[in-house]
């Protein structure tokens, strides 16, 4: 469970730093007046949506940190036989990277007011993300053909679980991306798309990061890394 505790520690540090800036040490009973010493944010939909996405990503982070914790805990037991990863996973990783970059292009395009790069970015991003999902399914198929069945070993079960959880999040992101793209196709201007495109790009980067961590886990690079850290500490 150390992974989730490290994750939570990071969350606690960020929250605490933020709380301190919000006047956690003020004495509200002595302060009468409008400001109260701390600037108040005016609510705005784009800002709220960005904060909402950030909070949601923390929840997603918690979900995956817990999965990784469970994975490492289980992998520590004797009978763990790691999966031989199919090569297509690396191709998929590259596809997801391209997808993320495409959406980043769309975001910078939206900031500049450049409709063409928004359109190219959105369509390329959506297409490559779909390709990533198809690629993951192909990877499952290959594993099955090689005899790495879901139920035959805990390592296999974890492989399917981890990739499925990540895939579901990508698919959910595609729904949101589809909505933004739909708005674009119905003729929405760059200004109206800016928030949605920005949110999608952030979400994509987060999923890419999570995927890289998961890939490190599945290839047991992370396991080796933790082992080295432990040896250094002891």
């Amino acid at each position: 469970m150390s992974v989730i505790l490290v994750f939570l520690l990071a969350v606690v540090i960020v929250v605490f730093a933020w709380l301190v800036r919000q006047g956690l040490f003020s004495k509200p009973w002595l302060e009468v007046g409008v400001a109260g010493g701390v600037p108040i944010v005016e609510p705005s939909a784009p800002k709220a949506a960005r904060v909402g996405l950030a909070v949601f990503l923390v929840v997603v982070g918690s979900l995956f940190a817990l999965t990784v914790s469970a994975y490492l805990m289980r992998a520590g037991l004797g009978d763990w036989r790691p999966v031989r990863l199919p090569g297509i996973l690396y191709v998929n990783t590259f596809t997801l990277l391209v997808s993320s970059l495409a959406l980043e292009t769309a975001r910078t395009g939206a900031r500049r007011g450049d409709f063409d790069s928004v359109r190219t970015g959105l369509i390329a991003g959506g297409f490559t993300a779909l390709l990533f999902l198809v690629g993951q399914l192909v990877a499952w198929r290959q594993l099955n053909e090689e005899g790495y069945y879901l139920a035959s070993n805990p390592a296999n079960a974890f492989f399917y679980l981890v990739t499925a959880l990540h895939g579901v999040h990508v698919a959910g992101g595609l729904v949101a991306l589809g909505r933004v793209t739909g708005r674009m196709l119905r003729g929405a201007g760059v200004a109206a798309l800016r928030t949605g495109v920005g949110l999608c790009a952030t979400y994509w980067h987060a999923l890419l990061l999570i995927w890289l961590v998961l890939l490190g886990l599945l290839t047991s690079w992370i396991g080796d890394f933790i082992l080295i850290c432990r040896q250094l500490l002891s």
Partner: protein, 594 residues
């Protein structure tokens, strides 16, 4: 998946600085598929109470079986385990969590912060409907072949999915799916509560001016958002084990003389995941209760809360600490005994901020102008009960004391006091307190007082003797105790006494439900602020507040939430949006934030 792009539409339509509210056009969008947080709150509350009634009846049935074994012929051992499981799961997740966060969270957060609604109303509506679906799926468990799962509310594998556990065919699948739905729905609601606190506060409402109710609900929501994924992951993995024959949690087992195909799973892994959710869950229920009680006590004792800053810090610290105590539920699970020492220590440390809160409530009461209104009675009842339950928690938190008490009625008595009776007293108190705002009418006082005394004394009559039974060694989860030599006959007499008390307490809740309905029509009109409270929800221009809450302009906050009995003032309270007598010229009241 949560679609956050939705919020973008409102801004594009114009109205810089002000969120676009949706405007219901028909009865259905106003009261059924409503996006108004107040309606959603009442939907959450009524749904939770409805399923809570099922849990109440189940507890009656269990009590009858314990006191008069065989009196109800349809209760056999399998049924009894199914009742235990469903009672526990409904109360902890579908009632307490849903009422505090979905119910009071939705109703109070926007009103107390001076917001017009939650930040993502559509998501909020979706959250309720998914919750309702989760409740319906859960209730469907009673009607599937084999009935609901009888694995105990902790759903420990391997027995939860082994062939001879009741509900193994359908019940366990239904339970896991329902929990996953609940978590998805809650995440949608939870995002709303957090973002509304972060972004939706009106002008002048700094974090340190928020009422403690909002602090409690806010912190509990953050905790729930971080903790529920653990249950989600555990549920997905167990579902894989049950449906696809994987071995996440299933070790090599010989069941009924036959070896099963499973091998290599780790049951302890599930316990870690479950309690990583399960312990914060205690505080997810307790922190909103702490917050609400602080506000009830301050209002009905006409005195500012003692040590507001400490109270806020304590809430935050309890929230953080509750994530590092989970394994104190696992002292006898066979985990590394070295962990026990660590978790016992963290468990005892968490008692410090908790005790601090209790002292502060008592010090708030000291030399206050105490009004024994029904909400106040419930708040006082909570403090006493929480202290009782908390003290037995110190017993159980110590490994050496816990080991002999594990799996006895002592544990049952402890958690019922601390997270059953205590938070429910707060829910009642809060309903009596805020019902006038929700309906414009007071609840009947006489019925309220009868309800309080029967519930309070009755709950003690049920759970105090249970500690004694636990010390005698009476085991929990037993369908029938039979002739165990160390259990004296007096224990059986005591069991009958507890059962009669439980039946009476349950009946008193019917009086409460009757009061809720009767007062809708016949209650005394309450006016906008019957308790003379300072917080913003009592200062709305209309009662009950209409869609949008605040009329033309949102209120401006000039002070903290606890200016009661301020020396030299004509009134005994100053509302949060009251600029005060001296400041009237400097800051005209009409100057509203948008």
């Amino acid at each position: 998946m949560v679609d956050l792009t939705h919020g973008g539409d409102g801004h594009a339509a114009g109205h810089a600085g002000e969120l676009e509210l949706y405007h219901p056009t028909s009865w259905v969008t106003k009261y059924v598929f409503s996006q108004d947080a107040k309606v959603i709150a009442i939907q959450y509350g009524t749904t939770a109470m409805a399923i809570g009634l099922v849990a109440l009846v189940l507890s009656w049935l269990m009590r009858i079986q314990l006191a008069y074994p065989g009196a109800l012929p349809f209760i056999d051992a399998d049924r009894y385990y199914q009742f235990i499981t469903m009672h526990g799961m409904i109360m902890v997740v579908y009632l307490l969590t849903a009422v505090f966060l979905g119910g009071f969270g939705n109703y109070l957060i926007p009103l107390m912060l001076g917001a017009r609604d939650m930040m993502f109303p559509y998501l909020n509506m979706l959250s309720y409907w998914i919750y309702l679906l989760a409740v319906l799926v859960l209730a469907a468990g009673f009607f599937v072949p084999g009935g609901p799962t009888g694995a105990g509310w902790t759903l420990y594998p391997p027995q939860a999915i082994l062939a001879n556990t009741p509900g193994q065919q359908w019940g366990i699948i239904i339970m896991l799916v329902s929990l996953m739905l609940f978590i998805i729905g809650f995440t949608m609601g939870g995002l709303n509560y957090v973002v509304t606190v972060l972004q939706g506060r009106t002008k002048g409402m700094t974090l340190m001016r928020m009422p403690l109710t909002v602090w409690g609900i806010f912190t509990a929501t953050v905790m729930a958002l971080l903790a529920f994924p653990a249950l989600f992951v555990g549920a997905v993995m167990m579902l894989f084990d049950r449906l696809f024959g994987t071995s996440f949690f299933m070790p090599s087992i010989i069941a009924m003389g036959e070896p099963l195909d499973t091998a290599g799973g780790s049951p302890i892994l599930f316990q870690h995941l479950f309690w990583f959710f399960g312990h914060p869950e205690v505080y997810i229920v307790a922190l909103p209760a702490f917050g609400i009680v602080s506000d009830l006590i301050s209002t009905h004792a006409r005195k500012n809360i003692f040590g507001y800053r400490m109270m806020v810090w304590a809430i935050v610290i309890i929230g953080a600490l509750s994530f590092v105590v989970w394994a104190h539920h696992m002292y006898v699970s066979g985990m590394n005994p070295g962990f026990g020492f660590f978790f016992a220590t963290t468990t005892l440390i968490i008692a410090v901020p908790t005790a601090l809160k209790v002292y502060n409530w008592v010090l708030t009461l000291w030399r206050g102008d105490i009004h024994f209104t029904v909400p106040m009675l419930f708040a006082l009842g909570f403090i006493v009960t929480f202290v009782n339950g908390g003290l037995t928690g110190l017993f159980l938190g110590n490994v050496v004391v816990d080991v002999p008490l594990s799996d006895t009625m002592f544990v049952v008595a402890h958690f019922h006091m601390v997270m059953g009776v205590a938070p429910i007293l707060v829910i009642f108190g809060a309903i009596y307190h805020w019902y006038p705002k929700m309906t414009g009418r007071m609840l009947n006082d006489a019925m309220g007082k009868i309800h309080f005394w029967v519930t309070f004394l009755g709950a003690y009559a049920v759970f105090f003797p249970m500690h004694y039974l636990g010390l005698l060694g009476v085991p929990r989860r037993y369908f029938e105790s039979g002739d165990i030599s160390f259990v004296p006959p007096s224990a059986h007499t005591l069991n009958e006494f507890m059962t009669i008390a439980a039946l009476i307490v349950g009946a008193a809740q019917m009086l409460f439900l009757f009061n809720l309905v009767w007062s809708l029509r016949h209650g005394k009109p309450s006016g906008g602020n019957p308790w003379g409270a300072t917080t913003l929800e009592w200062q709305t221009p209309e009662t009950p507040p209409p869609h949008g809450n605040w009329g033309a302009e949102r209120p401006v906050v000039y002070r903290w939430a606890y200016d009661y009995s301020v020396p030299g003032m004509a009134k005994d309270f100053l509302a949060q949006n009251d600029p005060g007598p001296g400041a009237a010229a400097a800051a005209p009241v009409g100057e509203g934030a948008r």
